[in-house]
Symmetry: C2
Subunit: 513 residues, 2 copies
């Protein structure tokens, strides 16, 4: 399905990409001893004459998304052959210790940020035309004629983002770690803000709805680029799949197009993002424009209900995302997310004055809630269960609480039992962790939420994160489910939520007021 009018509105709101030239970088040496990376300074790169097999590592001292430019010179005889360079970009130091040619993981190695380029003319300014996400750059002379040496006279990067630095709202806190987590979270959002809210500027580089929900929330308390949220909502609304389903992600190039992937939870989050957007902006016209899309998502999700009003489980891989965990059964989470989306849909129906829809959704919500507690709740274990094997997981409890199946003290006790349940499937991604923090705050456990957040995201900070990561396992910070850190996305939108939590719930000014 393709709505030309909505698409025009979406693209008309595409933000300007701001450029920021970064000239400062340090030349460093890195050595790895077991798990420890040792860093030593090197002389200024301009002073180093590079022969075959020589290399330099440049550290731009923060994470950036942008374009690299190298001003190359030489010493010795006039260059009499091209220079062959291998240029590797890395978000974290650890990536530089992996050999791209040996990468055998399942993520496409085409994502590895490495180029092998010929430089035909030296001296010259080489501007790499691809965009990279990085802090470190290693420049290796794979080959050069023996008659001359290469010099990097100047290395600079043009960082790009649509985030308006001057408009960033301040954050007040006497807690240093909170300030640090906020700073890294905001930088994460900043670097993911390009033409759209990208999931990660290194890998995928696309508008995914799961990331957008969190990015939009952080945006409202930081850069306030609300038109960008609107643009992205209109993109999803304009480019639905054949049956009118909101797709999981949108490609921008060569022209905006929806992916053929869809996920039960992601389609429903469209409604939630629109509700959040409306609450922040009061933009009723947007709700009027997009409410039909929301209604269709409810309809499609309803088709997945069995006669008991329970979301039918599925063994289709990725039918519902929830968390990056194939062992996690998604049924109960899907039920909770449907309720969570229905609450948003009711608010939107009220907004547009669609009384029939409001009434229908309210009744459906009650049926889902009743079914949740009747069919997905294990009265003995006193925990929500999911799937044919009655799996217990953090995700199921969290989404049932966020969806309102259980509330107040009962929900608090539910969480206590969940934490004490050794068999409960735990969380894998910062994305799922975000929902956990959200649920803890919802049930009034603000202190626990803060402590958990400080520990989890603070762990990345302690591991020198400049931006928050797509995946973080506190036990194994350098773990990669893809078979190599070189394809891990270390600046990933779904991890930027702490700035939203901190600025909304853990703000000194607010506490004092």
């Amino acid at each position: 399905m393709y709505n030309e009018k909505l698409l025009r509105e979406a693209t008309a709101l595409f933000p300007e990409i701001k450029k920021n030239k970064i000239n400062e970088c340090k030349c460093i040496d890195l050595k790895k001893d077991g798990d420890v990376i040792k860093r030593d300074p090197r002389p200024a790169y301009e002073s180093i004459a590079l022969k075959k097999d020589d290399s330099i590592i440049l550290d731009f001292e923060d994470h950036y998304v942008g374009y690299l430019s190298l001003d190359l010179g030489y010493e010795g005889a006039h260059p009499d052959s091209p220079v062959l360079l291998r240029i590797r970009f890395a978000e974290r130091e650890i990536e530089l210790f992996e050999d791209a040619s040996e990468y055998k993981g399942w993520v496409s190695p085409a994502w590895i940020e490495e180029e092998i380029i010929h430089v035909d003319i030296v001296p010259s300014v080489v501007k790499l035309d691809r965009r990279y996400s990085f802090r470190y750059v290693r420049i290796e002379v794979v080959d050069i004629s023996s008659r001359f040496s290469l010099r990097v006279n100047d290395a600079s990067l043009t960082a790009v983002s649509s985030a308006p630095d001057e408009a960033l709202l301040p954050y007040y806190s006497s807690n240093e770690l909170d300030r640090e987590i906020d700073r890294v979270a905001v930088k994460t959002l900043h670097d993911c803000m390009q033409t759209v809210f990208e999931d990660g500027p290194k890998r995928d580089r696309r508008l995914w709805i799961g990331d957008l929900r969190i990015q939009a929330l952080v945006n409202y308390v930081t850069y306030n680029m609300n038109d960008m949220v609107k643009s992205n909502l209109y993109l999803f609304g304009a480019l639905t799949q054949e049956d009118g389903r909101v797709g999981a992600c949108i490609f921008l190039d060569p022209k905006p197009e929806v992916d053929d992937t869809n996920m039960f939870d992601y389609s429903l989050f469209f409604i939630v993002i629109l509700r959040d957007y409306y609450k922040r902006t009061g933009d009723k016209k947007a709700v009027l424009d997009l409410f039909d899309v929301c209604k269709r998502q409810i309809q499609l999700a309803s088709n997945s209900l069995d006669e008991r009003h329970v979301v039918r489980d599925s063994d289709v891989l990725g039918w519902c995302f929830v968390d990056w965990n194939l062992a996690l059964n998604k049924q109960a989470s899907a039920q909770g997310i449907f309720m969570y989306a229905l609450e948003a849909a009711i608010e939107l129906a009220q907004c547009v004055g669609d009384v029939l829809a409001e009434e229908e959704y309210a009744q459906l919500y009650l049926k889902l809630k009743e079914a949740s507690n009747r069919f997905l709740y294990d009265v003995e274990k006193k925990l929500y269960v999911s799937g044919a094997e009655s799996q217990i997981s953090f995700a199921s409890q969290i989404w049932m609480v966020l969806g309102g199946a259980m509330e107040g003290k009962a929900a608090e006790r539910l969480f206590d039992r969940m934490e004490a349940c050794p068999e409960a499937v735990t969380m894998v991604t910062p994305y799922m962790y975000h929902n956990y923090i959200d649920a803890l705050i919802k049930i009034g456990k603000k202190d626990v939420a803060h402590r958990k957040m400080s520990k989890y995201w603070g762990g990345m900070v302690a591991n020198s994160a400049d931006t928050f990561w797509e995946l973080y396992n506190p036990e194994k910070p350098n773990e990669s489910p893809y078979g190599g850190t070189i394809v891990n996305s270390y600046c990933h939108a779904w991890s930027c939520g702490p700035a939203y939590f901190l600025r909304t719930y853990f703000n000194d000014t607010k506490d004092e007021s």
Copy 2:
């Protein structure tokens, strides 16, 4: 030394580069069985969906110098990762059977015509911005997401050359092989004609004086781009080395500059090229502009004479080129080449009316001639000898004859003894072979010259040469002194001489007239 005025004249005469779009190419399959390459047709490339590790070989059915453009599409799901391509260009099929990553030869592997590129957006038109010299292109999908396949919808090349196709003089011959050799020789010149007369468009890509001498001769009987010869002479004249010596080659980028290499013979050939140019064009002003440069070359060469008027031998690698053969002693050849250049210098002195110089050179010539026959001629073996070890070589006899140390019937008998001398060091390059043909014609052995030329250059034609090669050993056509055919230059200017010989001496029309 830097002569701004001459340089301005040189660059003002740079030719226009003509573009020619080539859309036709065949998709082929190549297999190698021992030394034999088996070629099979494949379906049209547009019909082939490429997954990871798939490749296609395109045959543009002639040698070209130019730029490749690929119109890429896909089938399957929307591309969700970049595509990583390895693109290899080859002048001959054999090159495609070598692995670039395993090349360990002494020529810089940066010359290997292979790119590894990321294509971020599909569909898109990918225009590679480097210039390549090739007939074959292999496109290999190193990596692609499993969700889609790549299609090459269109492959085209924009061939470039400054040769004016419409101005090519016709060549008449009833001899089919002569016509074929002429065609390939002209194509060789054509593809080497760019902003300057390049030695080879694949490797070096520079203006070398040794190649220029032969290119200019062929040019006069084919494209008549005489201003281009003039431009190149002015470049060498404008950009001499510190002592006023004409360098062996000129770099054009980023700005015209002389190489620090010089060779005894190459510096002297400047005079010969100017004389040839003057004889063809009558451009006396050019001779007036450049005669001082010629005089300086004679002066510098004279400094290399010992008190007997014999060119001092040297053990400096490459002090005098003559042939690509380190085992060849160059002394006697250098002596012959000095005489050869003196003859040209005398003609130029006459042209500009420099009577003193004319007289001086005439006397010097006689002294050199006398010294040649007194000190470099072995009266027992009746052959010219070179160096402390009195080495006998084809090169020494050839250059003594071309320099006029021996003439007429005596020279004819000298060549008979040379051919019959088993210890005589033979020739390695088509470049030296060119001088051999030239000398045979000079001594009146036109038929032998024709037979030798037909056999040697015809051997390349029999080996499917589209253009003539830098190196050709009839015993081992695929030999590479560089450790890999992938760095052999298979379109090399110094091999284009047959078109000059054929059109000057073996032209039916001329014979009949």
